[in-house]
């Protein structure tokens, strides 16, 4: 079981992710803002974070940069309503990028892929 942090400012999206990803066997912790995410990050380790890019008055990219710097062992998947951020250099820091959709199959597959990659890295001692 993997422990996932989901950051999204939309309460219903957080609820949907929590339900669906829990069904996939993950432990899901949600946060509505960067501040809340920071608090949750202090509570314990996470295997992966799913970040929305456009948070109310904040940017998920900012949190991504912080995580890359401070928690480089924790992979991040960006999940946004905008496909254009895919071309943003800062977004390239993330391990995955998924455009939001009612069909969470792609997100779920991306989580599996990124976690597998992380496991390989750990195994290789990188």
């Amino acid at each position: 079981m993997s422990r996932l942090l989901v950051v999204d400012d939309e309460a219903n999206i957080r609820l949907l992710y929590a339900e669906e990803l829990a069904d996939e066997g993950h432990e899901v912790v949600t946060a509505a803002s960067i501040a809340e995410a920071n608090i949750k990050l202090q509570d314990g380790a996470f295997d992966l974070a799913v970040l929305d890019i456009k948070l109310k008055n904040e940017s998920g990219i900012e949190l991504l940069q912080k995580l890359v710097k401070e928690r480089h062992d924790m992979p991040v998947i960006l999940c946004s309503a905008f496909s254009c951020y895919k071309d943003d250099f800062s977004a390239w820091l993330a391990d995955g990028y998924v455009v939001k959709s009612g069909d969470l199959t792609e997100l779920k597959q991306e989580i599996v892929r990124v976690l597998a990659k992380k496991a390989q890295r750990v195994k290789a001692g990188l």
Partner: protein, 540 residues
């Protein structure tokens, strides 16, 4: 006393006076006028005067003195009248010349008038003239134009022609400009080429003449220490005149004039007249040159203005497009989140709803409708992206292979095949990779949409600086109406679904200026052809 002259008679008959000829008949009956106009200069009258002196009359000597003085003054008056007539002609000529020179800003016209005036019989009557102009950019005095005959035969022919046509100066200049300017330049090309001297060569006679600002008459050129042997042989005359052209202290150029055919002496008078003439000529040349440069600058500014206007229009259009893009993107984002929540929860509920549950159909409908709406949303966002193509050089083979790989899963689901054989020697194409990849994917997906067992063939071949990309399905049958609808944004077709698909492809390709042709013959098959450039527009 018998007088030999007729001065003592009130009226005389024709033949009585040797000085009265046809046209002077009115003097026959007018004694006073006859004495003043004819008798004073008549040999008979002189003899009568001599007889009068011999008579020793006291008034005879006084009369003789008065007669001599009268004749002297009469000659002086005649000489002054002649001088005045000449000056009047000269003023008229200069006025005529000045009018043309002042009213023209055409350099060729000014030069034609100037050189014609120097060489025409009605002008200064020189045989030949060379015009040298100062090239400030290259700091050189350069032979520019010449006029005149090169030998006796030509001189005889040209002067006869001018005499027969009896043209005024302006007509002569016009005639020269229209018919002879180029041929005269070609005729004297060899001499003009050698009449180029750097301004820095201050020892050179031509540069000295230019600096001195006064005409110089060169005589005995072949033995003159001031004239190089080269220049003397080049001109082939021993006497020539150098006239500098100055306008407001600016060195405009130099005129060399000579009488190489008639060898008529160049007088002081000729020099002064020509010196007077050079002022308006220099001014007119300077003005016409400035006008030429002004025209060049004006056309540059006009061109720059037009470019600026185009850029402004482009900026306004791009701002509008950017606004449309931002609005579209913002709306799409506002719709996507709720759509995702509806679709996501509907799928979640569906998972936990047994197949027998009558509500399952309703939930499936929600899932299916939200999926379709998400598809439309993607197309709208792609449309707003299509407003800004970003082009660069890309490998078409790689682009097609990646695009086919992206739709591979769908091809397998539909039991369809897509074949692409890359051409190894294909050059890079100058395209927006993202947009053209989207078009290739969309064309494949659109072709197999709702079908199974289709075989799509893709080829990319190089043709005259471009790459022809063909996507072909020989089994597909599409009517013209359906094809038109497919290529129209947001049009709905019964059999082929809705949306922007092909219409968006066409818009994207249009914006990049890439020709896009769809051929769907009635007998079946459909072929999409996209022509991709291999060079940037400015290079091609």
């Amino acid at each position: 006393m018998d007088w030999e002259c007729c001065w003592d008679r009130d009226a005389i008959a024709m033949g009585d006076c040797p000085n009265i000829r046809e046209g002077d008949e009115d003097l026959l009956a007018s004694r006073q006028r006859r004495i003043l106009e004819k008798c004073c200069d008549c040999a008979n009258f002189s003899r009568d005067l001599q007889h009068f002196r011999e008579s020793r009359h006291p008034l005879a000597d006084v009369f003789g003195m008065l007669h001599d003085e009268y004749r002297l003054q009469k000659n002086q008056i005649q000489s002054l009248v002649s001088f005045l007539d000449n000056k009047t002609l000269e003023v008229r000529f200069l006025h005529e010349l000045g009018s043309v020179l002042q009213s023209s800003v055409d350099l060729e016209e000014v030069l034609s008038v100037a050189l014609t005036a120097i060489t025409a019989g009605k002008g200064f009557g020189m045989n030949r003239a060379f015009l040298l102009l100062t090239d400030r950019e290259h700091a050189i005095l350069k032979g520019y134009l010449a006029i005149g005959p090169r030998n006796y035969e030509e001189a005889s022919q040209v002067w006869n022609e001018i005499a027969c046509n009896d043209m005024d100066l302006q007509t002569l200049a016009q005639n020269f400009r229209q018919n002879k300017l180029s041929s005269e330049r070609a005729k004297f090309h060899d001499i003009l080429e050698q009449l180029s001297v750097p301004i820095s060569s201050t020892d050179h006679l031509l540069i000295r003449a230019l600096e001195d600002k006064h005409p110089i008459l060169i005589e005995d050129a072949f033995h003159n220490p001031n004239v190089t042997a080269g220049l003397a042989h080049l001109l082939g005359v021993d006497t020539f005149l150098l006239m500098p052209l100055h306008s407001r202290n600016r060195r405009v150029g130099l005129i060399i004039a000579d009488n190489c055919i008639t060898h008529r002496r160049i007088s002081e008078n000729d020099m002064h007249s020509l010196e007077t003439f050079t002022f308006p000529v220099a001014f007119a040349i300077e003005r016409a040159s400035l006008y030429d440069r002004l025209q060049v600058e004006l056309s540059r500014i006009t061109e720059a203005g037009n470019k600026l206007k185009e850029q402004q229009e482009l900026i306004v259009r791009m701002e509008k497009m950017a606004l449309v893009g931002r609005i579209t993107s913002s709306i799409a984002h506002s719709i996507r989140n709720p759509l995702m929540i509806i679709g996501g929860f509907a799928r979640s509920i569906l998972k936990n709803t047994p197949p027998s549950d009558p509500k399952r159909d309703f939930i499936e409908s929600i899932v299916s409708e939200t999926r379709q709406l998400e598809g439309v949303l993607d197309e709208i966002l792609n449309y707003s992206d299509s407003l800004y193509p970003t082009r660069d050089f890309w490998d078409v083979n790689q682009m097609v292979e990646t695009s086919v790989r992206d739709v591979q899963e769908l091809l397998i689901q539909r039991a369809c095949e897509c074949h692409f054989e890359p051409e190894i020697t294909l050059p890079l194409a100058y395209i927006d990779l993202k947009q053209v990849s989207y078009c290739v994917r969309t064309l494949i997906v659109s072709d197999i949409d709702g079908r199974s067992g289709e075989i799509v063939r893709i080829t990319a071949t190089g043709h005259d600086g471009s790459i022809q990309l063909r996507i072909e399905d020989s089994q597909r049958k599409v009517s013209q109406d359906e094809l038109d609808a497919l290529l129209t944004p947001f049009a709905i077709t019964h059999d082929m679904g809705t949306g922007l698909g092909l219409a968006l492809c066409r818009t994207m390709l249009d914006k990049q200026g890439l020709p896009f042709v769809v051929i769907a013959p009635p007998e079946g098959g459909i072929t999409y052809m996209i022509t991709l450039p291999t060079q940037k527009e400015e290079e091609s």
